[in-house]
């Protein structure tokens, strides 16, 4: 999560159209809250009922990352954490600089 938070800090500087959510599976609410407070992460954690969101997205391994485009469609997804690939996926929806 610290690495993802670093990426978020970078992206949040220039992109107001991007939002990160950390979709938790299986942890108690206070465990998540403590971890978040301790780490000082700047994007929100969210929870799910009985793994239904993981199931809907076909997630079998953690971490898995999805990037959803502004059109509400899956733009990119991968198991594991590859910051470079993730950044490239997010850059696809960046407005071109003048």
């Amino acid at each position: 999560m610290p690495h993802l938070n670093d990426l978020w800090s970078e992206i949040a500087k220039t992109r107001k159209d991007v939002q990160f959510y950390a979709v938790n599976i299986g942890d108690e609410k206070d465990v998540i809250a403590d971890y978040w407070k301790e780490g000082g992460f700047a994007f929100p954690p969210v929870r799910q009922k009985e793994g239904e969101v993981s199931k809907a997205f076909g997630v079998n391994a953690y971490p898995t990352n999805y990037v959803i485009g502004p059109d509400g469609k899956v733009l990119w997804r991968a198991v594991g954490f590859d910051p470079k690939a993730l950044e490239e996926a997010l850059a696809k929806t960046a407005k071109k600089k003048q």
């Binding site: 959510y21 599976i25 502004p70």
Partner: protein, 266 residues
Amino acid sequence: MFTVFLWMLLAATPEPPPPRPDDEAAKKRFEQLVERFRRSEGLDVIGKVAQKMSMDGQDFELGQKGITHLARPLHGRVTIGQVNEQFELPPQVIIADGESVYMLDTESKQAQVLGSNLWVPFPSLELCQAWIDPKADLHAEKTELASEGELEKLTVTFGSGAVETYWLKGETLERAQSVQTHGDQKMEATFTFEKFVLTEKVDLKRYAESLPEGYEISDPMAELEADLLAVGSEVPDISVTTMQDESLSLRSLSGKTVLLNFWFYH
């Protein structure tokens, strides 16, 4: 007041000693060696390694024999036989068929996909990074050159903390040693080579290896990704729960680029 203090601090800092001529020679020799690895397509090695590991106050020893017959990009075979008194391990066979790298399990006849990057498990030296990826930056922090009998002895300290020593006879590596220390864990590997040949231009056909017959390909990564939604598919009509116990529909987020990171703590 502050200026005076800073001036005193600067005055107290010793100047770095100028590089000695022999350091320059060592640096140059190492750069030459790296350049040779970068330029070469083929790597042919036959050798043995004796490994000593200290972990949590326990010592392990491991002996391996290795044959490397590889060419960039992605051709060839590496066989590593384990000779060990503490563990009995089957030999490892890794082949590259031009597109992917596979590890063969000779018992179950499975070829596990290791990806599409060439990595050389034998010899496992930082120096070989220059062969695997000619663009790799090796970060040598310190180099020393000496002679030992008819051999040149080049010792390199890498930014990663690994210290490697190469005994060279002309352009041939006769022996090498690698020492890595992480906290109280120490790993020492001593390689002796029967053959160490770098070839600049190779005939890839001579190196080509295809999967042996009867092998089934297993791709653990693909299995983990098998159920994921396809790129281009609509976000499921589902909601997550915020830390304020509010329901947040994922479809309500459209208009934004959203990253969903699936994770757990325990």
